[in-house]
Symmetry: C2
Subunit: 500 residues, 2 copies
């Protein structure tokens, strides 16, 4: 299947071409409408896995289950693709030039991908992509992001592919310049006269930089940084596109996004939200993401609110208190913390402190503006505090944190895997529990079984969902199972070595 | 020596009482005016250590050396104190109540401190304090902070000492209330009607919080958090005091601050600047601080500039480029990154990008607003970009990062130490080099030698300064030695165990 992408920046190709994206389950599952309906049974909660006739690249495993009734639809989404980015025509250096990427599709009809293939031709760059999206307040954003985010990534990679595909090529600071010639502009000449720098240079080895050396200094940027930048800006473009087209295509809600890009020997894990990726390697757990929540991003959010208090609409305070302040407590001393503090101290309560706190609640119940429990993701442009005109979006970031794992640098065994899961998994199972379950499961599989990673993913979802007992879903040690949507990838790492 | 502190908040006691703080070397060195003058020899650069008749608490070692000519005076300062905080009169809960702390001085006349002493009486709380300050653009802020910051810490600890001294006492959210009675105010009733929370609660174990449980939720704050908050707010108060009194007392410049507080079995290391603390324990290096520089704080600074562009005075851009942009490059594609990005990407250069970048330069040469190479500290309220009206201070933070080491939880040998150093040390020696030097030095000392830690500190300063050769100061492998002021503490950890 070939898809031509033309002029993303000059219009709204993605959505107009497809007449919007109706709700469904991930394309690679190949579910019939009947099967989609069955998968949405909130009572039985069937665990959906890849059919035996279907395989994902690298034999990656996938399993999912719907929530226990929290929303009509399963608001998680997933995507898995192998994408081919074509090199720009020689001499082209304009960013908005029409370009073509071909998508090696998610294996319709059970056809497996040929492994060991990276560059389709000398002109193309192939990358692998796996992603999880966890929607809220509607399924629209997650559906759209699962269909389009990888194209945005492909477009941004296309811009730098000639550089990243050329080993030992230092990325040029400015495109279309071979040698840098630093004529001083009037502005920089003026800057030269600025104060002798106050700290650092004189104390460092060597003498303080002279103006001449100072303006010749040029940061060396790595290939890896360009890929990270491409993923970061792809998230931004995806978010902008959702905002631009949400009215036309009725894109509801927002979603988290956790993506994995395998390119030229390295795994790039980009995360915006509260999903999680961990690598299990020879029994060791390597965290590949952090969660972005009201608690983990408290200081960023408080800092923003402190600087732009109008965003709080005179109803919220940027200060945090251990609980709501009561009117009778005005004048008393209460514990608080502001954006500068990790610790707590006492302050005298004023009338302003009676406002609702910007960050309120603990753990999974923590909320921004009493509304949302996750602080990064895509969409949510229309989301407001209930019964108010206060928008949530300014406090949310669509920017992922990207971590890199140099996969091709070392050998990996058949049981070394990357586990991706939405928060439904991690709410009830710790990294260690997941590591033990997966390691134990894989050790008991036939190493030649192509479905071992899918079976392991199914096992994980089962452990997180639990079984239905008298008083609800229960997992080991009679703990409560997750009532949330749960989606899990288990991606073996040995194929990365084989491929390059 | 006893010092009574009365009414810090109600006036400017500290400075008025002393008629300002003239420049000198750290009080605990006990240098005569002649000795101070000798220590300022920029050519010989004598290493100054504690006299044999003097001892610091815990037999801590200290050594310092002046810069190679970068500034007339040694702009580093140090302080070491044992402070006794007196409990407030019973029933007092007002914050501005006059109070008394007694300072166990830095051992004049060679008198050693009695170890194993923590509480002077049932009413008092004793804590140890070591600090390093690294001044710039004048010595005033460093001198004042070295004389006063510990009193601010004592005042803030005094506010919470009854709580932190009572094991198993949960810090009360609101002072003067025994039991919390959550009557809903009209405001909170309104909040109850707010939107069902969008994420997290429903997916978590258990059912979503009902309004009743939600408003009873109260964060549990630890004793440790109160000490951290006390140190954080003490830094803020110190900075406010410098701002308030800089005109009257001609307090020049700014300074970094690295402080260690030992209280009730725990070491608290607070850092605002580019000094560094590491613990060496059984051959292992445990970092106890991070440096705050234009590079490490780039995203915070760019975020601030993005939100408050007037702070850039129309002369700077918040974007970062690998080098200055030239006028002829407008319209071309150049590498950049903004506050959301860790990676790099290309953008089309516009006229606005010709402005000087907010963050410019690399490593020790990186600067904020072409002016300063450190982004946290005290003072600098008058500092402006040369030949402009652009203030630097809004970009600087006086807030420390505080890390905690549970010293009393484990045994420590005589060679387990906390090393504090200003950037003059760390610019030329890595953590590993410092660890090897100290470990090797202490292993060759007589374990009963009271001066072994001072000798080890002297050895470290010597290794960082080097020896004067034809072409300047040289250290091992013919590398350049540090031309900066260098100050080092080596604090043995075994005394913490003995004390409690």
């Amino acid at each position: 299947m070939t898809l031509n992408i033309i002029g993303l920046y000059s219009g709204s190709y993605f959505l107009t071409n497809s007449c919007g994206y109706p709700y469904s389950r991930p394309e690679f599952l190949g579910l019939s409408p009947d099967e989609v309906e069955c998968s949405a049974d909130h009572v039985a909660r069937p665990i959906v896995i890849l059919k035996e006739t279907r395989r994902l690249p690298w034999s990656a495993g996938y399993a999912e289950v719907i929530n226990a009734g929290k929303s009509m639809l399963n608001e998680d989404q997933a995507c898995c693709e192998v994408l081919v980015v074509k090199r720009r025509p020689a001499g082209s250096s304009t960013p908005n030039h029409p370009l073509t990427t071909r998508r090696r599709s998610s294996l319709p009809n059970g056809e497996g991908l040929v492994l060991r293939e990276c560059l389709d031709s000398a002109e193309d760059l192939t990358f692998n992509y796996w992603a999880l999206f966890d929607g809220h307040a509607g399924s629209g954003a997650a559906v759209v992001a699962s269909r389009l985010l990888h194209h945005h990534i492909a477009l941004h990679l296309q811009e730098v592919m000639e550089i990243v595909c050329t080993p030992n090529l230092q990325p040029p600071t400015c495109l279309g310049e071979e040698l840098l010639n630093h004529h001083l502009t009037p502005t920089s000449q003026r800057a030269l006269t600025r104060a002798a720098s106050l700290r650092g240079a004189a104390g460092a080895p060597g003498s303080p930089g002279t103006p001449t050396t100072r303006f010749c200094t040029e940061k060396k940027i790595s290939h890896e940084s360009l890929v990270i930048g491409a993923i970061e800006n792809a998230f931004k473009d995806m978010d902008i596109q959702i905002e631009r087209e949400k009215a036309v295509y009725n894109i509801s809600g927002g979603c988290t996004a956790l993506v994995v890009v395998y390119l030229l020997g390295k795994l790039y894990v980009g995360n915006a939200g509260d999903s999680r990726a961990i690598i299990l390697r020879a029994g060791e757990v390597i965290p590949m993401s952090t969660e972005f929540t009201p608690e983990s991003e408290r200081q960023r959010l408080q800092f923003l609110a402190y600087m732009q208090p109008h965003l709080l609409g005179n109803e919220f305070t940027h200060l945090e208190f251990p609980r709501r302040v009561q009117k009778k407590e005005v004048g008393k001393r209460m514990l608080y913390r502001d954006f500068t503090m990790a610790g707590w101290a006492y302050k005298t309560i004023e009338d302003d402190d009676l406002k609702f706190p910007l960050i309120y609640g603990e753990g999974k119940k923590a909320r921004v503006l009493a509304t949302i429990g996750v602080t990064r993701g895509l969409g949510d442009h229309s989301l407001k505090v209930h019964d108010s005109n206060i928008y949530i979006k300014p406090f949310l970031s669509c920017c992922p944190e990207v971590r890199v794992y140099p996969l091709a640098q070392s050998e990996h065994g058949a049981d070394d895997v990357l586990v991706l899961g939405t928060d439904g998994l991690w709410d009830v199972l710790s990294n260690q529990e997941v590591a033990e379950a997966v390691t134990c499961f894989l050790a008991n599989c036939d190493p030649d079984d192509q479905h071992r990673y899918t079976m392991a993913a199914q096992d994980l979802v089962m452990r997180a969902r639990g079984v239905l007992k008298d008083r609800g879903w229960r997992i080991s040690n009679d703990r409560l199972g997750s009532g949330d949507d749960i989606s899990v990838y288990i991606i073996p790492l040995m194929y990365g070595n084989k491929q390059n």
